[in-house]
């Protein structure tokens, strides 16, 4: 039934303002083109402000960059498979590991987490969209613009080659004369805008747009963890912004910030980068912690053990994470007092993480486990992240870290926590939420192969790196020789080869995921509404959810509200018995739909504004007049945006009824 008021396609609509007010026509709102109102076709994606479409776009872009970053990794492993590798020369090798990390961190993991956050936060809290839908769209297009800028460098004189942490003065004009670092820095500033605006958007959404009755301690754990992540982004992004500005001022204008001869201290860059960089790694992993906190209870047929502990430990990780950054700098000459302080702080942060591991384990304990692919990935995270966490604890002991730092032991650690932690969690989310997003179930058979090949491949690749590191193989060395390889069980040659083979097994595993997606897209079978017998509100919708998410915004009385609508406690047996199916719950919800739902309308200003940043960035590298033209487009787009109402059709409606969508943005 049509309960959303929408103009017939193709007509211009002008908002009816209060009597006596002037009509706003396209020419008076500065736009040269009519406001887009298409609801199908490519325009409905390019100009969308719908959080679900944007979530899918974030996810698709992230998967693309996962493959790009993966290819970069395979090239690195090919180079290191044998002594005196000839696959990549030193210069290209430096570019490869820099871009591999940059792509994986900024263009894969963060956007993929954004994909889930964008898609599911509004659904999980019973909202119809985010607080600022156009800013949401703007964020996605900024990500694309930034990703393009960063990667253009491959074709325009070489990519950035200073490592993803880009230490200055090495990354300054003297030692990195090509434009690679400029593309990198400017591209990251642009993606940083996406992160910062997205953070503000999602925090306001979670604070302000929860369904009636949903107190903060009834909010699902994924939304909680994602919200902690947004706070981390809110406060960490400005710090790297400062670092990148200082670097660019040095490179472009000759400022002295990292010029040692003028008295500069190279540690300035390191501190600024890692003050951002450490919260960043929690930004990378917390969303996955949130995802498995949803998946584990569902497939254990038990509620999450210790919900308040899981929530508070997530917040604690976010908070304590600000106090440990210099553990990335133990060998940089900080001095014993600083080293000692940061060493102790780093040990402390293991505690809240341990709390989570305990809670997840106790969730599964005594549960009726169902080993779907999503569950396998979730359990995989609990194991493999723990391995990574343990090597992390060994780093926290500063004297021990002095041996480990800049070796493959560190590479092993962060790949276990990032791949075994962040990425396994993201895949768990894929398999869990795919039926809701796309209306079809990913194949469990292919999923099983995908999972096992990925996990085996991952362990074959990164497991040996613990040995390689402790045997002394340094990071960021483009080649190793027979002479340094050593003999016996711990020789470098054998384990490097194993790692390379492992990386291809891993690649095969990931390929199976792509194949699974492809095969699923082509099959006809649709997924049921609630295939997993899930617990939270996002499942109380159609497959996929309607544009306005909920016909009627539900009133929330419990944590795991959806579960409690399906099950009630049988007082005689003290077990939960089913009182309604998912279909019935949804039917009941739809019986009294809200009237007068106003969804925010599509707009082209977000993409115009975001893409104006591309000529600005290119202009700053090559030609200032181009940057000025970009700047003019930027100002034009900001002005046009500010004059555009968020809803294209008439905005004169009554207040006071339920079911308001987002109007701002």
């Amino acid at each position: 039934m049509a309960i959303i008021e929408r103009p017939a396609p193709g007509t211009i609509t002008t908002p009816a303002l209060l009597p006596g007010a002037a009509e706003i026509t396209p020419s008076r709102t500065f736009g040269a083109l009519k406001r887009p109102v298409a609801s199908t076709g490519w325009k409905s994606w390019v100009f969308t402000v719908d959080h679900k479409k944007l979530g899918i776009m974030y996810g698709a872009l992230a998967m693309f960059f996962f493959i790009v970053g993966g290819i970069e990794a395979l090239l690195i492993r090919l180079q290191l498979a044998a002594p005196d590798g000839k696959v990549l020369n030193a210069d290209l090798y430096n570019q490869m590991f820099t871009m591999h990390a940059t792509t994986m961190v900024f263009l894969f993991v963060m956007p993929m987490a954004s994909a889930f956050a964008n898609y599911f936060i509004p659904l999980q809290i019973g909202a119809r969209d985010v607080a600022f839908p156009r800013i949401n769209a703007f964020g996605f297009w900024c990500l694309l613009a930034g990703g393009i800028i960063i990667n253009l460098s491959w074709f325009l004189g070489g990519a950035a080659d200073g490592g993803w942490f880009m230490y200055a003065p090495n990354s300054g004009p003297v030692f990195s004369p090509s434009h690679g670092v400029d593309f990198w820095a400017l591209g990251l500033q642009i993606t940083g805008i996406a992160s910062l605006t997205g953070a503000i958007n999602l925090i306001v959404t979670v604070l302000n747009m929860r369904a009636p009755g949903m107190t903060l301690m009834k909010v699902p754990v994924f939304t909680w963890m994602a919200t902690v992540v947004q706070f981390l982004l809110l406060f960490a992004m400005p710090v790297i912004t400062v670092a990148l500005f200082l670097l660019m001022f040095q490179r472009v204008f000759g400022a002295q910030f990292f010029d040692v001869a003028a008295g500069a201290d190279p540690l300035l860059w390191q501190h600024l980068f890692w003050i951002f960089g450490h919260p960043e790694v929690y930004i990378l992993v917390l969303p996955s912690f949130g995802i498995i906190s949803e998946v584990l209870p569902v497939f254990s047929r038990k509620p999450l053990f210790g919900y308040p502990f899981v929530v508070f430990s997530g917040a604690a990780i976010g908070f304590v994470g600000w106090g440990v950054w210099a553990h990335h700098m133990f060998a940089s000459g900080l001095g014993p007092v600083s080293v000692a302080v940061f060493s102790v702080a780093t040990m402390a942060i293991a505690v809240p993480t341990g709390v989570k591991i305990i809670n997840w384990t106790l969730t599964m304990w005594g549960g009726k486990l169902v080993f779907t692919t999503a569950m396998k990935y979730a359990i995989g995270l609990v194991f493999l992240f723990t391995v990574g966490g343990l090597s992390g604890v060994t780093h926290s002991i500063a004297p021990s870290d002095t041996q480990q730092t800049d070796t493959y032991y560190i590479v092993a650690h962060f790949h276990y926590v990032l791949f075994g932690g962040a990425i396994l969690g993201l895949f768990s989310g894929m398999y869990y939420w795919w039926p809701k997003m796309f209306g079809k179930m990913l194949s469990e058979r292919l999923g099983s192969w995908n999972f096992w090949l990925t996990v085996i491949g991952m362990n074959l690749t990164f497991g040996p790196m613990h040995i390689l590191g402790l045997q002394g193989q340094p990071r960021r060395m483009y080649v190793w020789t027979e002479a340094r390889a050593g003999e016996g069980f711990f020789n470098l040659a054998f384990w490097n080869l194993v790692a390379t083979v492992g990386s291809f097994v891993l690649a095969l595993g990931v390929l199976l995921f792509i194949i699974n997606v492809w095969v699923t897209a082509r099959k006809k079978e649709l997924a049921p509404l609630d295939p997993w017998n899930a617990r939270s509100l996002e499942w109380m919708t159609s497959n996929p959810p309607k544009e306005h998410n909920f016909d009627a915004i539900p009133h929330v009385a419990h944590l795991d509200e959806f579960f409690h609508r399906k099950y009630e406690e049988d007082t005689s047996t003290h077990s939960m018995k089913q009182v309604a199916t998912a279909e019935k719950v949804l039917e009941d919800l739809e019986r009294n739909p809200d009237t007068n739902i106003h969804m925010p309308s599509p707009s082209y200003w977000p993409i115009v504004l975001a893409f104006s940043l591309i000529p600005i960035a290119l202009g700053l590298i090559y030609s200032i007049p181009v940057a000025i033209v970009g700047g003019a487009i930027l100002l034009y787009a900001m002005y046009g945006w500010s004059l555009e109402p968020s809803v294209a059709e008439e905005s004169d409606y009554e207040a006071g009824h339920n079911g308001h969508g987002a109007h701002h943005g």
């Binding site: 604070l207 706070f231 809110l234 406060f235 710090v239 201290d265 540690l267 501190h271 003050i275 600000w322 106090g323 210099a326 900080l334 001095g335 600083s338």
Partner: protein, 108 residues
């Protein structure tokens, strides 16, 4: 939404819920700020001795808090705004003081 006009003295806490103090009240705050600024500038001309640094810091903080609390209305608004802003501020101070400390900035 009309606001009342009272005469405010600086000792009143001014508990106007919605849209703030009267013009007179704001002017009073501005005068206080100007006086503090004058005192700050005085440190350039007059030797404050050992009180130089502490008094400058205190005056800076005082002006900061006055503008935030009264001009930005934070004192009278919902606590959530204070939480959002002051967490950023406290985090910034904590992190950057620690940063400077590693450079032995506070050791003379």
């Amino acid at each position: 939404m009309a606001t009342d006009t009272h005469i405010h003295s600086e000792s009143q806490t001014g508990d106007h819920a919605e849209h703030g103090m009267s013009t007179r009240g704001y002017v009073n705050i501005a005068i206080i700020l100007a006086l503090i600024t004058a005192l700050e500038v005085a440190t350039y001309y007059v030797d404050f001795g050992p009180f130089f640094l502490p008094s400058l810091i205190i005056m800076m903080v005082a002006k900061f808090v006055i503008v935030v609390s009264y001009f930005m209305h934070l004192k009278f608004d919902n606590k959530i705004f204070s939480f959002l802003f002051y967490s950023g501020l406290v985090l910034a101070i904590g992190v950057y003081v620690a940063f400077l400390a590693t450079f032995h900035f506070f050791i003379r």
